[in-house]
């Protein structure tokens, strides 16, 4: 799919006549069928096209899911190119070209908040190389030394002359010259990077013209609704298609191992028929499980040893001889990502090729998966990535793409498969459940002498590979590499999987481990009789990147300096993930059992900023994502089924509950370009829970918060 601004305008102008497009299949301009990106005169490189009309088309290899890569990635190229930003248009890099030219776009997977970390230098070099070629082309045109020419604002100038040539005028020649030893700018020379820049995808997102994969419309397209086993792992025993065969628009039912796809001429007809379809399931033993039994199994693991992952000193001896010990168990439930756009995928299986229209974090993974399923060669799989209507990790899973492909393999027309929200929430791929036991020993002077931790967590890796042994990194991220200086410690881990399946969730294991760790550090501070920020400073004395963030956080939040009314208090937490240190202070009020988050002060160090505007949006959104989970997030298992199957039961924060969020950048510069899509998510839950302790005297050690009835002490 092509996402240039030009096409945005084209789309909105075709809709000018209101219903003018309503009765025709919209032109393929909005959903371009695949065509091999040809190397034209104006293509400077695989990343960059400069059109004769001066448009600078920049290709983006990452997926736009709201985090702003369609603006930040082009900024990295445009900065070095010295382009006129107003002329920049953006489109996705062609996945098929990536396959044919073996990785010309580097890694196309979008994950771990690392788009900038991963691509920054590459993209700067792309821009710099193109700039030097444009300069060389202009110099050749003038028959002067390139050293005497420079680029600025979309034109090439000659020193000491009023002559200039536009990028468009020399682009053809520039595509044929070569340059060597290209250098990128040092940060002082940046004009565009660091400037708050409006997102390029915004206009199309406020007039309904932005194309998400559910908006793809193709000639002869059919729709599929899916019914999954009500219990994960259950299988289809039998179905009675004859009961729905007569229903309007119904084409067929596709039987899969643990799901049925019902295909019809519109989605509503497919869904209506799927609702009526009698299906009988083999549910097995997993159909007898409940949250409480699963939770009990997790806690029972504490009696086992676990695998040691960090150890220093004689923990048993120290604990036995401690003046005082405190022990606490923490727990977090399975959670769902709930992107606003329910999972969907459109697939057209043809004799010679397969087209896939989807919004996905891993288009290359789709090529592999669909190639394996259909037996077609990877270069015959055409993935048309669309805007992602949110993901938060969910749109990196292949499950829905595989299901759509299997349905499409049974139909000789394009099929758009949509999972209803209920089907999505029942489909697994949840943020893992985890239980954690901490114990701290103190001497007579209230000094910490030892800390032990045993975490028991559902492993994402084991779900994917049943032969996996050892500790899943994603289960212990932020825990195994915690920053605190401790005199003696032992961290152990136990992998514990259930019939549910797990997957990535914005900030992954950090969201689990920062909650437990930062709450327990608060408990330790309390036991030591030291202010929580001061206590962390003691244990982070050799970690300046944390100390600087704590300084900003303390100052900007008014920590300890503000007179707060009874029932209101501040709590704090700090955590590093994806290369970024984030500290937060939450000011919370409890009134009649009701919890209100008034304000969140964020201090954050990602080193450098590409686009402060999208950066702030990401931090704010990450806080709210974490807050929804802290307050409401849980999936409850009853008879193996997930009870929370739509937005009436799976709570997501709304506007009236949204706190004021003050973001303060504590940028350390240098070579640090930390991620921003996730690092603020894990910090909010412990900050809020630590505030709630001050108000209520009660430690919240199990999420979500709304499971507790809280009163002011």
């Amino acid at each position: 799919m092509d996402l240039t601004r030009r096409d945005f305008l084209k789309v909105s102008s075709t809709s000018a006549g209101g219903l003018a497009i309503a009765f025709t299949i919209p032109s393929l301009a909005t959903v371009r069928p695949y065509k091999m990106a040809s190397v034209t005169n104006s293509e400077i490189s695989a990343w960059l096209v400069i059109e004769p009309d001066e448009s600078v088309i920049i290709r983006v290899a990452q997926a736009e899911m709201g985090q702003g890569v369609m603006t930040s990635m082009p900024m990295l190229i445009a900065e070095e190119l010295e382009a006129d930003w107003r002329k920049v248009k953006v489109e996705y890099a062609d996945v098929n070209r990536q396959v044919l030219l073996s990785g010309i776009y580097g890694r196309m997977q979008t994950r771990d908040s690392d788009a900038v970390q991963l691509s920054r230098e590459t993209l700067q070099l792309v821009g710099a190389e193109a700039r030097e070629r444009l300069i060389k082309a202009a110099a050749e045109t003038w028959t002067v030394d390139p050293e005497d020419c420079y680029a600025d604002y979309g034109r090439i100038f000659r020193s000491g002359s009023s002559e200039s040539l536009s990028f468009g005028e020399v682009a053809g020649l520039a595509s044929q010259v070569s340059v060597a030893n290209v250098k990128i700018k040092t940060p002082e020379a940046f004009n565009l990077l660091g400037l708050a820049t409006p997102r390029l995808d915004v206009p199309a997102k406020v007039d309904g013209s932005a194309i998400y994969s559910m908006d793809v419309r193709l000639p002869d397209m059919l729709y599929a609704a899916v019914v999954h086993s009500p219990v994960l792992g259950g299988t289809v025993k039998s179905l009675r298609f004859n009961a729905i065969r007569h229903m309007p628009g119904v084409v067929k039912a596709v039987r899969m191992e643990s799901a049925i796809g019902v295909v019809a001429d519109t989605f509503w007809r497919a869904k209506s028929a799927a609702d009526e379809l009698p299906v009988f399931w083999n549910l097995g033993e997993q159909g007898k499980t409940f949250t409480d039994t699963i939770k009990r199994d997790f806690f029972e693991e504490f009696s086992g040893a676990g695998e040691v992952m960090l150890s220093k000193g004689k923990i048993g001896y120290l604990m036995d001889h401690a003046e005082r010990t405190i022990e606490s168990d923490y727990f977090v439930p399975y959670l769902a990502q709930v992107p606003m756009e329910p999972l969907n995928c459109t697939v057209h299986v043809q004799d010679s090729k397969v087209d896939v229209w989807v919004g996905h974090q891993d288009p290359e993974g789709i090529v592999d998966a669909v190639s394996r399923l259909t037996g077609k060669a990877p270069h015959d799989i055409y993935v048309h990535n669309c805007f992602l209507g949110g993901s938060f990790g969910r749109r990196s899973h292949m499950d829905f793409v595989i299901e759509a492909t299997r349905i499409a393999m049974e139909v000789d027309r394009p099929v758009q498969m949509i999972w209803t929200r209920e089907e999505e929430l029942r489909s697994g791929a949840y943020r893992p459940m985890s239980a954690m036991r901490f114990k701290a020993g103190f001497d007579i002077d209230k000094q910490l002498i030892a800390l032990s931790n045993h975490s028991v967590t559902h492993s994402i890796r084991y779900d994917q590979d049943k032969s996996f042994q050892g500790i899943d990194d994603s289960s212990v991220e932020g825990l195994r590499n915690h920053p605190y200086s401790l005199p003696a410690y032992e961290f152990t881990h136990t992998r514990k999987n259930t019939h549910l399946t797990s997957w990535w969730w914005r900030s992954g294991g950090h969201s689990i481990n920062a909650f437990a760790m930062e709450c327990f550090v608060d408990e330790m501070a309390g036991a030591a009789g030291v202010d929580p920020i001061a206590y962390r400073r003691q244990m982070l004395a050799d970690k300046p990147e944390y100390l600087d963030v704590l300084d900003v956080l303390e100052q900007e939040s008014g920590w300890g300096k503000r007179n707060l009314p009874r029932g209101t208090a501040m709590g704090m937490a700090i955590h590093k993930s994806y290369g970024t240190v984030c500290g937060q202070v939450a000011e919370v009020t409890v009134d009649n059992g009701e919890v209100t988050i008034n304000r969140v002060t964020v201090a954050i160090d990602c080193g450098n900023l590409v686009n402060p505007m999208t950066a702030e949006e990401q931090v704010e959104g990450s806080v709210l994502f974490g807050l929804s989970a802290a307050l409401y997030g849980k999936l409850t298992v009853e008879n193996g089924r997930i009870l929370e199957d739509n937005l009436d039961t799976y709570g997501i924060l709304r506007m009236h509950e949204t706190p004021e969020i003050d973001i303060h950048w504590a940028l350390s510069g240098a070579d640090k370009w930390g991620g921003l899509g996730e690092p603020a998510t894990p910090v909010i839950a412990p900050a809020v829970c630590n505030a709630l302790y001050k108000i209520t005297g009660r430690r919240i050690r199990s999420l979500p918060i709304t499971d507790y009835y809280l009163q002011v002490r």
Partner: protein, 152 residues
């Protein structure tokens, strides 16, 4: 056959009368700017204007919609020039953008009713869910429109 008036045009669609308006718009009329997200009236991504009032089109049947004028995001303006759209662009509101058609439509209805809504009135009207958390920017955009009107 159901007769509807969508974006000031009369249309006839061959659907069962109990089909939700949302799916008539999306599948029969190819007006895909109106989004499906929950199907139970919780999130507001499918909000359209019916006689100027915001309704959740997933909970409105084609039969119920028959007697009323329906405006979808596509009918708001041809070029994102409606004052609410302009304010959403200026405030750089959307992230993933999927809920934004519904947010814009709900904000339009609010501002038609109350030219200068208070924070509390904004809270009461804007019950749409945004998973990306663009709420503060939506609020700023609504206030910007209200302010713009006050000046003219």
């Amino acid at each position: 056959m159901v007769r509807l008036n969508i974006n000031k045009e009369d249309v006839e669609v061959d659907v069962s009368p109990d089909t939700p308006l949302l799916w008539v718009l999306r599948d029969n009329l190819n007006l895909t700017g109106t989004k499906f997200a929950c199907g139970i009236g919780q999130c507001g991504a499918c909000t359209v204007l019916m006689q100027g009032k915001p309704v959740r089109s997933c909970m409105t049947t084609a039969a119920e919609a028959q007697r009323f004028d329906i405006i979808t995001i596509e009918g708001l303006s041809s070029d994102a020039s409606h004052p609410v759209q302009v304010a959403f662009i200026e405030e750089d509101v959307p992230q993933c953008g999927y809920c934004q058609s519904g947010q814009v439509m709900t904000a339009v209805a609010l501002l038609n009713e109350k030219s200068n809504p208070t924070d509390e009135e904004i809270n009461q009207a804007m019950t749409n869910i945004c998973r990306c958390g663009t709420y503060s920017k939506i609020r700023s955009a609504i206030k910007k429109v209200a302010l713009g009107r006050g000046e003219t």
